[in-house]
């Protein structure tokens, strides 16, 4: 194994299809028009010296090191800023060029510390490399003159010197090493889109400056790391590299946080991770990352991680550490006992969207084959189950239609109920890049999100009341139909025409007009009409949506309404358009694909279908139950009723992530055996009898499937600290229960999946190694996968329009609960925060806050930072208030990353009509000043403290 070196071509790739031929150093080379001479040379294998150019950002032409000679042209143009032309004859090396380059280099070095031996970038420094490349042997100028290197010069303070900025927890900024190449500034603008950095001052006084001479932490910086990657020197360096040293080998793997699925190089020294660097060949992220994937992996070795299996008879007892075998036998005996006493259907399990496809597949196999029932569900239940239902009804597949590259061809982007800048940051960066090129943006969200407010982006914002998505989207359709903006030829060719007519008649009804629905939606009809016209007529229109769409009592209806809108305007079936769910967790798509739902086998095939079921029976050598099993909320109800008594939860903290915490506590307490398989003693583990320690994504092989249906490899870079990878744990648990599953490597599990699932037929580890990644369907018809779906026709045949009547949720405001609470996420934390809370990311978000409009706050006597009591019909909690007009009057907002907040004590158990996906996004609440934590919070804390005790190990006397 060695370090993977990615070639830096110096300037970005040109997309032009016109080719140009030129001669560089006597070699003919043909490249697309718009390519720089520097890039053309590199493609031919010649590296022209450079400092300020790098291929993630546009050329700037400031360092003058990359000079070349062109026959017939005077002077020595910079190769990074000079485009190729037919017939050019270029020389990259000559006496004159050598002298010029040495002169440039001498100037740089004379203002640069010469402590290379102890510098963190030693071995990975472009300044060092270039000094070597151009043959710099001596520097004529001393350090006596003005410099940025020393704190003191001639015994006085040196005003040009600046101390290190170590405010960011993950990287340092050492201005004394800066060569002011502005690569960092351009990376922050062009790649990340945050514009946190500038070059302040001029000439010798030029400095890289976060914000207005702030610290990195105090500035707008979101810690994505793009500037650190771009920096050619040790000026911006990961603290982990400073501590450990340069890595010696690297392995490509996939981020385990969000549904973007960024590819990373895990750069290692032995089994220690030195740093995670985004991989340029990653097709989802194209070399970019966010703070979570890039830096927040320290949880993998956090001291609170549990590494030994534990059991206990009652949840009041302290945990007993035991061997793996004891834990498996204990769990198996409990589960078998429960099935004997209460029946075969009294146990079940939950698969995780954080685990690999292979692990998820095994858990559902264990439940269907080993437990003998279909009580398997997944955390996708509580986020994207309506996506599966809605898109399969209308289009015929339970997945998004595009790849992320598609955004580069989009002219109008409509974001509904999603905040990609926080939850899908790398996609947001790619989107913002497109918006800066002129694409238009429509945001449908109760809150003025970061997308609406981001620099150099102008958004048309429709701030609707929470819970009125269907009314707003149907009103958009109303405008499109009544103003004659339907793409009739598309609809006639690709969709069922008579269903379309029924639908068109329904949406055209004046009761669905923007004017008539404004009373409930709160959206200005003029803005809504403008949005509809823009989407229908502005060129390629793409819809991206998130949990603000799905987590409602009409979640599935909203997904259907979105699909209707895309079909009516012909925005389906080519690059730049489509309907794209932004999936929350890394493997939500995969866990759904792998048969995690109680009614479906892998590949979304109903369990009652005899042909499909028989295939699985033959492969698994077991008889399967043909009735659908319980969904998570149904499991809870059945537990309280006394018919569901045992649960195996892999990598999912249902107690913290599911709504109506009190109801979940009651359900878990009623069960006789809860098995939690996780990294940490999570909240659910407080009610568990068996704890099986989990492994992290760095410790196992497998695959994740991101929001674009892209299947990517997760590669093991270190031995599991807990001893077993998660797939091995499931196999051994099955074995203890008498159900044999034999695999020696996850690749064999994938082979079985491919053999049983037509959309995965072409997937294998060999294929993934060869292509890097594939998007399903991947089979004989599409051996390289399918970036864009429904080209030329819908998967289900004809696109299906379905009428979407707006039905107000039963969760209503009233005199006692006059405000509407909606929930969301922030950038630095992930989901229930179990991982990110155990990293330095807490510097950005140490607690959940309640956002409230100044008007509502004043009425209640609440000041910024005050503790407030937040009460709903389900329960109450306390947290601190943040007064902001990002939310409209009547609406309050919070995140749910911290267990102390217990935001789900507040949420009710209303749910989506089709899938029972809980209605997180609308809860009627009241707010009043408070002194601190509620009684429930205190009692809960006490129970958690008691429940987390681990009995000291008593050495047995020999």
């Amino acid at each position: 194994m060695s370090l993977i070196h990615e070639i830096d071509f110096g300037t970005p790739k040109s997309k032009s299809e016109t080719m140009v031929t030129l001669t560089i150093d006597g070699n003919q080379i043909t490249v697309p028009e718009g390519t720089s001479i520097m890039r053309a040379a590199m493609e031919a294998g010649t590296q022209i010296p450079k400092l300020c150019a790098t291929d993630m950002v546009d050329a700037f032409g400031s360092c003058r090191l990359c000079l070349v000679e062109i026959e017939g042209r005077a002077g020595t143009p910079a190769s990074c800023t000079t485009p190729v032309m037919n017939g050019l004859v270029v020389h990259t090396q000559s006496e004159r060029l050598k002298q010029l380059r040495k002169g440039v280099m001498e100037l740089y070095i004379s203002d640069h510390p010469l402590d290379c031996l102890t510098c963190a970038a030693n071995g990975d420094c472009e300044l060092q490399d270039m000094a070597g490349a151009i043959g710099l042997r001596d520097v004529r100028y001393g350090y006596e003159g003005e410099n940025h290197v020393f704190a003191k010069s001639h015994g006085c303070d040196n005003d040009a010197w600046m101390p290190k900025d170590e405010s960011n927890p993950y990287f340092t900024y050492d201005p004394s090493k800066c060569i002011v190449c502005s690569r960092c500034v351009r990376a922050c603008e062009e790649v990340q889109g945050t514009f946190a950095l500038t070059i302040s001052g001029r000439g010798f006084d030029s400095r890289v400056s976060p914000g207005m001479n702030e610290s990195f932490l105090g500035s707008e910086c979101v810690s994505c790391g793009a500037c650190v990657q771009a920096c050619p020197t040790a000026t911006l360096t990961e603290k982990s590299v400073i501590e450990i040293g340069q890595p010696e080998h690297s392995v490509v793997t996939t981020c385990a946080y969000c549904g973007v699925g960024c590819a990373f190089k895990a750069e290692m020294r032995g089994e220690e991770v030195v740093r995670m660097v985004p991989y340029k060949d990653g097709k989802a992220n194209r070399g970019h990352s966010c703070v979570k994937g890039r830096f927040a992996w320290g949880y993998t070795t956090h001291k609170e991680r549990i590494l030994k299996p534990m059991i206990r008879e009652r949840i009041e007892d302290p945990w007993q550490e035991v061997s793996w075998d004891e834990a498996f036998n204990f769990a198996a005996a409990k589960f078998k006992g429960i099935q004997q006493k209460y029946g075969r259907d009294a146990v079940g399990g939950i698969t995780s969207s954080r685990c690999t496809n292979e692990e998820t597949y095994l858990v559902q196999k264990l439940i269907r084959g080993g437990f003998g029932n279909n009580n398997v569900d997944t955390c996708a239940r509580v986020c994207h189950s309506p996506t599966g239902y809605g898109l399969s009804q209308t289009f015929g597949t339970s997945a998004g239609t595009q790849d992320f590259d598609s955004v580069e061809d989009t002219d109008v982007v409509m974001i509904i109920g999603a905040n990609p800048a926080s939850a899908h940051p790398v996609f947001a960066s790619r989107l913002k890049k497109r918006l800066r090129q002129g694409a238009r943006l429509i945001v449908v969200d109760p809150r003025r999100t970061e997308m609406v407010e981001s620099p150099h982006v102008k958004a048309l914002h429709l701030p609707l009341m929470p819970g009125t998505n269907v009314a707003v989207i149907t009103a958009l359709a109303h405008v499109i139909v009544t103003e004659g903006l339907v793409n009739e030829s598309f609809v006639r060719e690709r969709c069922d025409w008579s269903e379309f007519q029924d639908w068109a008649t329904f949406v055209a009804d004046p009761k669905n007009s923007p004017e008539a629905t404004a009373i409930v939606t709160g959206v200005d009809p003029k803005l809504l009409r403008e949005a509809a016209r823009t989407y229908a007529t502005g060129g390629n229109g793409a819809i991206y949506y998130g949990l603000g769409v799905t987590e409602h009592s009409q979640g599935s209806t909203t997904v259907i309404a979105i699909a209707n809108l895309a079909m009516a305007t012909g925005n389906i079936g080519r690059p730049g358009v489509g309907v794209n769910p932004l999936r929350g967790q890394n493997n939500v798509q995969g866990s759904c694909d792998m048969g995690s739902f109680p009614h479906e086998l892998p590949g979304y095939r109903h369990i009652s279908g005899d042909a499909v079921r028989e295939q699985f029976e033959a492969m698994w050598n077991v008889k399967l139950n043909k009735e659908p099993g319980l969904r998570i909320p149904n499991m809870f109800d059945a537990a309280i009723e006394g018919t569901f008594m045992g649960l195996y939860a892999q990598g999912e903290d249902i107690l913290q992530s599911d709504p109506n915490t009190k109801h979940v506590v009651a359900a878990l307490s009623a069960m006789e055996c809860v098995i939690v398989h996780d990294l940490f003693l999570n909240e659910t583990a407080n009610y568990a009898h068996v704890f099986l320690p989990g492994s992290t994504f760095l410790e196992k092989d497998g695959t994740f499937t991101n929001a674009e249906r892209r299947i990517q490899r997760v590669r093991k870079v270190m031995t599991p600290l807990n001893g077993l990878a998660d797939w091995e744990v499931t196999i051994r648990l099955g074995k203890a229960m008498g159900f044999e599953m034999n695999y020696s490597h996850p690749s064999e599990i994938m082979d079985e999946i491919a053999a049983l699932t037509p959309t995965f037929a072409g997937v294998s580890y060999a294929r993934l190694d060869e292509l890097g990644s594939v998007q399903w369907p991947c089979n004989e018809k599409a051996p390289e996968g399918t970036p864009v779906m429904h080209i030329g026709g819908f998967v289900r045949g004809k696109g299906k329009f379905i009428i979407t009547e707006y039905i107000a949720t039963d969760e209503r405001t009233g005199p006692r609960y006059p405000l509407l609470l909606t929930t969301g996420r922030i950038l630095s934390q992930y989901n229930v925060g179990a991982q990110t809370r155990r990293t330095d990311n807490v510097v950005w978000h140490s607690e959940d806050r309640l956002e409230i409009h100044p008007h509502d706050a004043e009425q209640r006597g609440v000041r910024d930072g005050d503790w407030v009591r937040l009460a709903s019909r389900a329960g109450e909690t306390t947290l601190r208030a943040e007064i902001t007009d990002r939310v409209a009057p009547g609406v309050v907002y919070t995140t749910f990353h911290h267990p102390d907040t217990q935001a789900n004590v507040i949420t009710t158990d209303f749910s989506d009509w089709a899938t029972n996906c809980p209605e997180y996004k609308v809860t009627a609440v009241q707010i009043s000043p408070s002194n601190g934590p509620s009684d429930w919070q205190k009692a809960y804390d006490e129970q958690a403290r008691q429940s987390r005790r681990i009995a000291p190990v008593v050495e047995a006397a020999e």
Partner: protein, 73 residues
């Protein structure tokens, strides 16, 4: 919300409301198909028992859909 059968009645009616605008026949078809596809047998048994006990609270289309489903089962 208390537990079943109230909750099941509520869920069934919620499904019914989605299909309402499609007219009686398609609604009954849609509702029964949905319940057959997504409800586990113990939930179906409970709602049938509730139907036998008079089926109070069930909307008309939902009631018809459940009758139809029971004949199939």
């Amino acid at each position: 919300m208390s537990s079943s059968p109230d909750k099941l009645v509520y869920m069934a009616n919620q499904i019914g409301k989605f299909f309402q605008s499609q007219g009686h026949d398609r609604a009954v078809q849609g509702i029964s198909e949905h319940i057959w596809k997504f409800w586990d047998p113990r939930m179906r048994k409970q709602i049938f028992a509730h139907l036998d006990a008079g089926g109070s609270g069930l909307d008309a289309n939902v009631r018809d859909a459940l009758e139809k489903l029971r004949l199939q089962a």
